[in-house]
Amino acid sequence: MTQVSSENMQWLSGNEAIARAAWEAGVTVASGYPGTPSTEILENLSKYNDVYTEWAPNEKVGLEVGLGASFAGARVLVTMKHVGLNVAADPLFTASYTGVRGGIVIINADDPEMHSSQNEQDNRNYAFAAKLPMLEPSDPAEARLMLKKAFEISEQFDTPVILRTTTRVAHVKGMVETGERQLGPIPVEIVKIPEKFVMLPGNARIRRKVIAERQEKLANFVESYEGNRIEWGDKKRGFITGGISYLYVKEAFPDASVLKIGSTWPLPFDMIRDFASQVEELIVVEELDPFLETHIKAHGIPCIGKEKIPAIGELNSFIIKKALGEDTGEIYAPVEIPPRPPNMCPGCPHRGLFYSLSKYDVFISGDIGCYTLGFLPPLSAMDSCICMGASIGVAHGMEKALGENGKGKTVAVIGDSTFLHSGITGLTNMVYNKSASTVIILDNRITAMTGHQPNPASGSTLMGEPANSIAFEELCRALGVKHIRTVNPHEIDTCIKVLKEEIERPEPSVIIARAPCVLIPEERKRKKTPLTSSLDKCTGCTACIRIGCPAISWVPITPEEGVKLGKKKKQKGYSRISEDLCNGCGQCRTLCKFDAIAEAEGK
């Protein structure tokens, strides 16, 4: 009988297993930036003793912190989502040159299907481009084993190692064997090795040759690495696959021969050649890009790949069977029903700001966070969203292109955490290069979308200690912004007025819309009085409906029902507030011209 959470077997998600493995591997320093599907790794690791964990303001800083700790000899974990590695790419490529002292592993979490991302880039390409080894687990148990091995590889071969997960590894739960903590072998001390750590051209040229030697050694190593293995079965079809795709192949073709790739880079080409020679048909199954396929073909080994297996979105065993012409039976077609996209919470402060902003004919460049949902109807108040921090540069660039016609026409909307991540440089540019755009910082005191992680403005750290809280007003003033306004986004009348003044102003200005996220613990605990709408007074004008609050719904009525309720014949319905969902933010109350919304009695 399986023992759940017995001494050495635990039911863990991929991210929990990675945190556990980092602790077991003797990691003493860990940094990163939240991003789905990687966030829970550091959140869990912060609960273990004897590990310093932190949220860095962005992934580049997180990796740099990691390098410093590694140079001191510590074992280090750095975590981020796939697009975060773009931000950290600068230190990544040169870290390949410096190598390490203490082992350093970068967890890179890709998001095929874009469950919670703006693109589905395949970061296996980074391993090739940066000449770094990359391992890919298929499930939580393997994630633990591979991470521990990754630290050994890092120290043995003097290289950062990337461990790539995808959503269906990170957020899948399974049984994981656990072990004890064992510290790394490198003494932690200051050791000056300039020829290794100072990447001036003269030193870097020498290190470039060290990388070439390292790649050769790694290529030999992976031929016998236990993460790469052949599972012989029927030799008619042989599959080469890795990561989550391995499990889909096993599910779809349990009797086929499979070469499971654990080291995505470098690849065990001798093993692949040997496997290929013993099967009739060689099929490469991988999500997203033809990464394995391209490199296998480049080594002169013919195989079937993306001409059959989709290159877009996630795979599953059904898709693989279908792609290879297997019978998958009849499947019910989806029934058309109203869509249910995500929405801002009842009482979300962002709603008041976006509602106010929707009153103006401006181009709203948005950013990454919960507030990206301001794009959805009925608010429909976002016109672009690219990447972390992009809103400010985009607003500025558009204004420059429009010239005089652009004055008072561009607004950037960015969250507190995103502004600190990569918005400050954009604002610096706006001031320096004389923009007239307006930047709105949605300061809800927390990194909300990824599950409420503290950031440098929150006043606390990942480890729960009190910390400095950045004052946005002072920061923006120091950058040279002369017009800084702070508003409460729940007060819609004020917001509308302040927005007008600042949008029209022919100079850069910043509006800080400050109100805490309703989901942070302090807000959850605060006693709230829900609102209710009076059926007698409601005229069905829909003013409150137009803010798109989940607590408010439209109740349609027929003319006969209307007359019975004492309404005018043309009234098509009325609005109803769910007292269970309402948290009394009062935005809708401001909008009601008929005094139909009031505090619920007895609450």
Binding site: E40, M175, T328, Y332, P338, N343, L373, W554, G573
Partner: protein, 192 residues
């Protein structure tokens, strides 16, 4: 060989779907099964449609249920039972919480909540068990126990004894255990 099965949990973010799937997974694991569960976090959670896949058997490879392969679906919201129709087959058993949560297009009056939406299941002869988890939760005196009532209804179909389920509830439910156990037992009556 032990029986294997695929359970789909679906509903709206914030309905306690993750806890319900977790309790079910623990009960299966305690009964000696291998299991894997796939969840979605991040943006998808914010009041949107949410789904969790739980698979069990001797040995589970893929964490995802293939289209047409869900043996059971537990829908925490009525319309959501139909959204995931492509995962069902004619032998699937669907437990539906008769609870409507208006999606944005319905709440703003642009669309209406479909009448008799469950006919999409029954006209395909899919076994559909209607229950009201909130009525049960209110009756037992713990409004948050609706998800456990749904697990109760599911439990009668699983190769797990109710003793094991009760042991798991004791270990995993931090507050109002008696009320949750009562909700679980009431839920069982729906499918017994």
């Amino acid at each position: 060989m032990k029986p294997s099965g695929n359970i789909l949990f679906c509903g709206v973010g914030g309905q306690g779907i993750l806890l319900a799937s977790e309790i079910t997974a623990f009960a299966l694991l305690e009964s000696g099964y291998d299991a894997k569960k796939s969840e979605v976090h991040g943006m998808a959670q914010r009041g949107g449609s949410v789904v969790a896949h739980l698979r069990f058997g001797d040995k589970v490879y893929s964490p995802l249920i293939d289209p047409g392969k869900a043996d059971f679906s537990v829908a925490f919201e009525t319309m959501e039972a139909v959204r995931y129709l492509p995962f069902l087959n004619k032998n699937s058993k669907v437990i539906v919480n008769m609870h409507h949560i208006a999606p944005p297009a319905v709440a703003t009056g642009k669309m209406t909540y479909p009448d008799d939406i469950l006919s999409e299941l029954t006209k395909r002869k899919i076994a559909t068990y209607r229950m009201n988890g909130f009525d049960i939760a209110k009756a037992v005196g713990e409004i948050r126990a609706a998800n456990i009532a749904l697990v109760g209804a599911l439990s009668t179909f699983l190769p797990v004894t109710d003793e094991v389920f009760l042991e798991v509830l004791k270990k995993r439910i931090p507050r109002k255990l008696d009320e949750n156990i009562a909700a679980f037992m009431q839920g069982r009556k729906v499918t017994q």
